[in-house]
Symmetry: none
Amino acid sequence: MRAAITLFARKGFDATPVREIADAAGVTTGALYHYFATKEDLLVEVYRQMQGGQRLRMEAIADSDLPLREKLHAIISDVVESTIADLDEAVVFFQSFHLLSPRVREMVRGERRGYHDRVKALIEEGQREGTFRSDVPATLAVSYHFGAVHRLGLWYHPDGPLSAEEVARHFADLTLSSLTP
Amino acid sequence: MRAAITLFARKGFDATPVREIADAAGVTTGALYHYFATKEDLLVEVYRQMQGGQRLRMEAIADSDLPLREKLHAIISDVVESTIADLDEAVVFFQSFHLLSPRVREMVRGERRGYHDRVKALIEEGQREGTFRSDVPATLAVSYHFGAVHRLGLWYHPDGPLSAEEVARHFADLTLSSLTP
Amino acid sequence: MRAAITLFARKGFDATPVREIADAAGVTTGALYHYFATKEDLLVEVYRQMQGGQRLRMEAIADSDLPLREKLHAIISDVVESTIADLDEAVVFFQSFHLLSPRVREMVRGERRGYHDRVKALIEEGQREGTFRSDVPATLAVSYHFGAVHRLGLWYHPDGPLSAEEVARHFADLTLSSLTP
Amino acid sequence: MRAAITLFARKGFDATPVREIADAAGVTTGALYHYFATKEDLLVEVYRQMQGGQRLRMEAIADSDLPLREKLHAIISDVVESTIADLDEAVVFFQSFHLLSPRVREMVRGERRGYHDRVKALIEEGQREGTFRSDVPATLAVSYHFGAVHRLGLWYHPDGPLSAEEVARHFADLTLSSLTP
DNA sequence: AATGAATGAGACTTCATTCAT
DNA sequence: CATGAATGAAGTCTCATTCAT
């Protein structure tokens, strides 16, 4: 799995031969196929792992009784920090989505929509109670801000000047101020 | 070219056989190779076309004598509208970047950095004169907002409830208010 | 033609695209095909040119009234010098023979056999009159000595220490002393 | 390998499709590529096999304490007999040399030069002690005589009037008498 | 006489996957 | 559990040659 993620992130799913993954993992192709029925299964596993955690933590925050603005801030922070923590996974996730088989793709999309909708609901709640501006459709706002997060893997470097926490804070700040009425 | 873009956008670069492009374009593979020495060259052409236009228009706006906030607003609007106008190109652009050969990749990256730096300079100018908040690194703000733009192709649908102009206006609004001190 | 010979000698007949020959000659493929119906025709032309000259000169010597030993010496000298003079042609000649179409191959082979037989007759004449040793089949001797000549192109370099005339003299000397009773 | 050698000898390396080799060997192309990474590797293997044996046997003879003339006689005999024993290999060897990739070509060339130099040293030794004539450069003599050997494959036929041993003896005789002072 | 776009067959090679051992 | 040889389909690209202009 680790080997697969690293290689997928570096060269892309299609461009990575199964043999190479097996070699990098120190096993034979046969052995690999003993555990994963398909090359795609390796990819699916990446999706399962990432989505599970992020969803759970997001829901926990959303269900908490923090004020709305702090909820949103915490959610953004979390998704940024966890994305950076598993940067390769994130790169693969957003880079190889279109290569998934239709069935899996639909599954993942459904799961993401769930995530999206929950956050959208939070924003709409804020719009109703006046915490957030109302002249922007909530769904567009969600797409906007998560779009930014999804591209993190393309420019963030662990050795760069910004720590994961700093990026997380800045992202959350930008999101919140953009939504301030 | 059109055929290639459509197919690349739908199935991905690696997953699209040259034969299929040729068929879609109504020519033979041989004829295709008469004009494009390599499958990659088709991809490169997409990059050249997109970058050229966007860069030119951005510079024109940046060089104009609009107030800073209006400049930024116009730039975001333009990039959103042109991205939506050529949505397939955009999808291919951001989806297949990692499949480019190192040489081309570096070229494209350089061009994008130029774009990025120019916008960054605008924001820094605004930060110095107090138009924009200073507690966020300009470069991070640029990555943040263009990250959002880059993911447009993944969720925007021309038949959806929002017109290109509306998305453009909303995106620009979000960017500006997020940067308001 | 010159371009073709040079390229065939350097890269081999099969490995040289017609396009490259045309480029090197400063014409288009179309123009080339206007003069040579087939790629093979270019090759055939090389054979025609080389064989014609060598055969004529050999016959002239053989028909002269020099003593036998001097005839053989002159023939070997001539073939060595002319081979070196057109080294590229010679390389192509011996390197690409097996790629000729059966018909052409048979033609060339027939011509060569004529050459071979004439020289063989000279040697046999010498064997009968006691000038040359008789314990070696004349035909084998011919193959032996011309075999050596045919490989000239593989090691001789014009910038090397030996001039064409020196090589010619040495080769002829070796041949003659090997045949001395 | 056997299938490859036969086909390369008959039609040439470039003119023999991998598919045909596989068919002749009764395997699939895939299976072939499981053992040989490249078509060229098949060719390289021919070179390795031929050179190894000939070099070893030549050195054994050169290191023996036979008189000089007998050493040379034995070396020529051996190279002729082994060439005839594996005639197809020899044909391929001398016919396809120029198609090897530069790296391999240099390797083979180096090995051959070693062979050449060793024989040259023997002749020079004979020239110093008066066994061989001194008016011919040793290196040229070596090229001359091995040139003859290299062309064996082009005319020798197992069903012809001469046995391998006869050819070997004659070749060795010719070489020796040509070098007699 | 010349162009150069176009063809179509075929070349080498790769690779996900299977399966006997 | 694991191996690794083998498959077979497909993929990218090349190239001699033709032909309308």
